[in-house]
Amino acid sequence: MNKYYLNYLDELESEAIYILREVWAQFENPVILFSGGKDSILVTHLAKKAFYPAKIPFALMHVDTGHNFPETIQFRDDLIKELGVKLIVGSVQDSIDQGRVAEEKGKNATRNALQITTLLDAIDNNKVDCAIGGGRRDEEKARAKERFFSHRNDFGEWDPKNQRPELWNHLNGKHFEGEHFRAFPISNWTEMDVWNYIKRENISIPSLYYAHERDVVFRSNSWIPMSEFLKLEENEQVVKKKIRFRTLGDITITGGIESDADTLEKIALEVSAMRKTERGDRSDDKRSETAMEDRKKQGYF
């Protein structure tokens, strides 16, 4: 038996580290887009490995909708301290106050779409030429054709028909002043790969991913956490449930699932038996068949 081959997780890890190092070598001022979700935590963990024993050479950029889980913010601040890296916060509230965007109205109002303006402003103001994201191709069909190095024009827009071909391991990040790139080092990972890797490396993640008791409201087929931002409908009731979250976004749109999985082993086991995609509980993707594609074109994550 030939031992000189990598297993799939090692190969995915090696590929992601290669991409992160290419970002560092090809751009002046890259940042990691950090949401506090498992995918951006994973990217940060991989960056730590890629540059060890040096520090992560990127700032972490958080687009803060103001509608956060408090646990996420605590986790973010602890991680920043541990890694000794800079945090850049783009605030959606500031964008609203400055009149750059207007808050959505109605029961299902979210700040999800407003993030695009805040993100692009933060990229502009901080002269960021590459924003590294935790997007994965298996997440959504508009992402299936995303490149590792994804070109954005000077309006921050994604043109799916005008992306650079990526052959072998050649990544071309050349750009003109004002343009920027998005880089996706974990493009080839699936949700299951992410969990298997988090488990293997024992990466710490926010407690929200583990099963816990919480006040929730049943809406659009999932359990939406009760928060000060949620406007209850007449027939809706707040109940206590043992739930956990599969993805973390805005507290107003992230639905939890009923679960007893309170360890990484149990989570991985649960995910492997899941029969629904993880974004199936995200109301931002349910708005239309092409919701993700449309937001991506405008400059979404």
Partner: protein, 418 residues
């Protein structure tokens, strides 16, 4: 279930809707239980809206809105599925001649290629085109699926006839390993489950074949090549003089204590340590991302290559490549481009077009020397400084280049060094 040692296999599928390519991928995903309920629900609804009986498997691979409106695949789409034996990445590419560049892109990282043949039509131009590209890109394993066997009464004779047809023309190609499987993607025969209708076929199903292809010996383990991506200088306590050369092993094996040469300078030293993150390693091999420190203090930067002292690539300033033109805009005669080879970049020009390949007939055209989108041609490239090249046949990583147009920053061509 030993998930932890499972390998990753990347394969490409080229073909058009008519071959049943989308149906085949849909079938693979569906029968290997890689489709989620909400995806299935959405596709079942769409199938009903379009008036199909049952679930149209092809809808699983539906792409962006523009593509759906035109009913075609334009770009390379990546799909994922996992079985208890392996993780798979499918690079799904359109098969029409005007998408040659996408087929080349999808094939560039593939361990295996699936060639689909319609049992009613046998070997056609498209079959030859796909096989040629697979051979050109040096994909080690070719799986020829003779599809729609249900439409030829599951006939063994017909299958054998097509195998013979294929072998006749493919003798001109270089492919290490070719297998033939009679399937019906529509009904599922021999895709994931063995066919009840073709008892005469003794081989494995498509999935079984994908799960068991021997791929670990496909990587070049002889010629050690390591291109430096970036230099790690932590400048913090405990690591004041630390200089780590970060990169990904392209081929071969590196061990602590190995005598190495740094190119292009030619200085020699010994490997002092190999790291993968915090973990210290005794040896490293492709495709591991590592950092190396050397015994001696040598000036090394991005683009340099660390190789074994007794096995070095050929420094070349002028070399022949098989070039696939990717850009809309045709090549300008004797125009300058940036050539990217491993992590190195130099100015370069296309000195001469030797011939253009007709990828349907395998004939060489020495008259027409324009380089237009999707053309595959043999050209001579000259770079301002020598590149540390290998032939593509020996080494996919150090034998490949891309050309970048300085005026637009676009990647305009991909080349395989002859």
């Amino acid at each position: 279930m030993q998930i932890d040692n499972n390998q990753l296999l990347r394969f490409t599928t080229a073909g058009s809707v008519d071959d049943g390519k989308s149906t085949l991928i849909g079938r693979l995903l569906y029968d290997s239980k890689s489709i989620f309920e909400d995806q299935l629900a959405s596709i079942t609804a769409t199938s009903a809206k379009k008036g199909h009986d049952g679930v149209d498997m092809a809808l699983f691979t539906d792409g962006l809105r523009d593509e759906r409106e035109q009913g075609i695949t334009i770009d390379v789409a990546y799909r994922y599925f996992t079985t208890p034996k392996r993780k798979f990445i499918i690079a799904d590419t359109p098969g029409h001649i005007q998408y040659t560049r996408n087929m080349v892109t999808g094939a560039s990282t593939a361990n295996a290629a699936i060639i689909l043949i319609d049992a009613r039509h046998g070997v056609i131009e498209q079959t030859k085109r796909h096989s040629f590209i697979a051979s050109l890109l040096n994909i080690p394993h070719l799986i020829v699926c003779v599809n729609k066997m249900d439409l030829v009464d599951f006939s063994e004779d017909r299958f054998n006839e097509i195998v013979t047809q294929f072998e006749e023309f493919s003798s001109k190609l270089i492919v290490k390993d070719v297998r033939f499987i009679p399937i019906s993607a529509l009904l599922g025969d021999n895709v994931v489950n063995s066919s009840e209708n073709m008892k005469w076929y003794q081989g494995g199903t498509l999935l079984n074949t994908l799960e068991t292809l021997h791929i670990s010996s496909d990587i070049n383990k002889i010629d050690s090549r390591f291109a430096v991506q970036t230099v790690l200088r932590p400048q913090r306590e405990g690591f004041i003089d630390y200089r780590g050369y970060a990169g990904r092993v392209a081929s071969g094996i590196y061990r602590v204590g190995d005598e190495v040469a740094v190119l292009p300078s030619g200085f020699t030293s010994k490997i002092k340590s190999i790291n993968a993150g915090e973990q210290e390693l005794e040896e490293a091999y492709a495709p591991m991302s590592i950092s190396i420190t050397l015994e001696d203090d040598i000036d090394i930067s991005r683009g340099d290559m660390i190789v074994k002292k007794n096995n070095q690539p050929e420094p070349s300033q002028e070399f022949d490549v098989m070039l696939c033109w990717l850009a809309n805009e045709s090549a300008k005669p004797r125009a300058k481009y940036i050539v990217r080879h491993t992590s190195n970049e130099e100015q370069a020009m296309i000195k001469e077009v030797v011939y253009k390949m007709d990828i349907n007939s395998f004939e060489r055209n020495t008259e027409d020397k324009d380089l237009n989108m999707n053309d595959i041609s043999r050209v001579k490239i000259r770079s301002t400084r020598p590149l540390m090249i290998d032939s593509y046949r020996d080494n996919r990583n150090t034998g490949s280049i891309i050309l970048i147009d300085q005026a637009t920053n676009e990647t305009v061509a991909a080349g395989m060094i002859v």
